[in-house]
Symmetry: D3
Subunit: 136 residues, 6 copies
């Protein structure tokens, strides 16, 4: 009897899509306005989904206070009000697309959870564009 | 060619998270403000998702009027404007966490559906906390 | 040049609509399922709207951190995870309808704000039922 | 490392649920007000979900501009501001239920995507009724 | 002490924007795809906002059951699953734009309310286009 | 008979709240994480609300295509995917708070509208923080 518990969270950040191996023209052709030099930004919304057995003593798959603390320490402190290109070592040589960000978020939360818990992350870059990753 | 049909519904209820085998201090440490003695409450929103073949005569997996009647009879009559701890026999000795509620909802709807239909329930306790259960 | 700044907040509470001067039958006729004896509850969402001049030094009408602290101290501490009928002195002899709650919220925030600031409160009892009050 | 990219889109259309092999009474009994003769309509919202590997050069599973052009050409041009019963050849002898529409949308987008990309479509007929189809 | 009570409701309808005094070309130039001959449709969402004094006996400005019945009788029965051009006498010689519909809705509800109640209607044609009217 | 027509739009931008007359410590004390040096960003959502008489020939207060073109030319081209501090001359010596941005947006749209039209702008910096300005 495995249930999935979902928790929404959010952070605000600036970024820019730019491949430094290319000139500006090729970057604009591929990334459009997302390649503008002075950055733009988003209200990133995320859903953290953890799946596991219900503990019969508490009725919880995971205590939400524990999950909220993990999200705070691993995601909010690390991403909120940051410039993803300039402030995060992971995007020094990798483009901070939603796809690459969601994999990074998944990795940061995954190592904090017990092995018997499954994890899936949904990341909204805008209300109309979003991505999901579950480690497979 | 299996399609999933989703229907949203809702009910309002009071509850309290409290393990009667523990003293108040341990309850507060585990459940926080959710253990307050006089109950609090939520607008529970739910999504009922049924998966099956499209009937070529009607174009339906299930007639929505049938699904709405099942939701009304099994969920709204049973849960709406109730105190989950005091009014529902299932939570006499079980804590009404979102996890335990979603399993109860799944069971009440499951027995009303044909065997070839798959069922999944999503239950929102708040817009930021929600759970899903599909019987596995 | 007056601008309005809006901040969303929320609290979860239990309540019951019941006029103790009436018998149960008249209460049910007036309040329906909202009069059930064991309480039900809601995720109350609120919008606090303050109107004033922009401070040319900060670009703010009000510092959001100040507004968030007022909301925390006056509303969240006071209303969150409470039973409005049993835990709040104001509803000892007054029915906790959305109308009466929004006036109480307005009064609690109003006395914390400067006189030159206008205040309006919007309170959602459910996503489909909500009320507004601006002191007039 | 497969990531799913989701893109929301929408179109407005009129339709009517009516089986021409039945008389009006049987249609009304099955389809209710949806069988009214002069059509009604919906703001159809859809989520197009494509799953694939991240391209290490761009950081994209699929360039959103490419996906937006496919959605525009295959869905918006074809469905937007149309009468599904009268204007679309596919619904000459098939009832335009949400189930049948979502399969048609899936087929129109599927043939435009590379084989290694998986596709799932979610179609909202109203905010409370929606369907999903992934080709299985 | 006047409070505003808001109630959300909805109906689905087909319509077409077309001025019969003009040829098709001029209609298309003015109304675009909204002038297509076979109609399209919308999920119309509306907010009915009534303002008045709080009744000290009930704590209500208006009993929501009364307001819901007015909305059902005046709006849902009249507009839901209809073709606004063909089925409603008011749009025989008037174009069913959101502006004209909201005025009609206001008039139908206004005559059912006491004089000391103020009324405002908000009508969403789509989530991005909406109109408001308060009788002034 | 004046009706208000509302149109939603959006843009994504980076910004930073920083008063150059102050040192970093005072900036952090006033603006918190919003003062971080490398910028952060938001999905700004806006509602443009125009009020006027209904034209009896078209049934419109304003043709939405006209309004959408004004929003595109004055707001989207100017603000979308920009760094508000670095790219916009208006914020060379003014802090790009939501309050200051909404006044700028109002001014840019106001001069494009006829005098008999009233204008109000609502600007969401996040789903929980937003501002409104109507020129008074």
């Amino acid at each position: 009897m495995r249930v999935t518990v979902h928790r929404k969270a959010h952070f605000n950040a600036a970024h820019r899509l730019y491949n430094s191996a290319w000139d500006d023209e090729k970057n604009f052709k591929t990334f459009g306005k997302c390649s503008y030099p002075n950055y733009h930004g988003h209200n990133y919304e995320m859903i953290v989904s953890v799946t596991g057995e219900i503990d019969p003593v508490t009725g919880f798959v995971i205590n939400l206070d524990v999950l909220k603390r993990i999200i705070y320490e691993e995601i909010e402190v690390y991403f909120d009000h940051k410039n993803l290109n300039l402030d995060l070592i992971e995007f020094k040589d990798k483009i901070p697309t939603a796809e690459n960000i969601v994999v990074l978020i998944w990795n940061r939360i995954r190592y904090r959870l017990d092995d018997h818990i499954d994890l899936k992350i949904t990341l909204y870059e805008t209300p109309r564009n979003f991505v999901t990753y579950d480690g497979n």
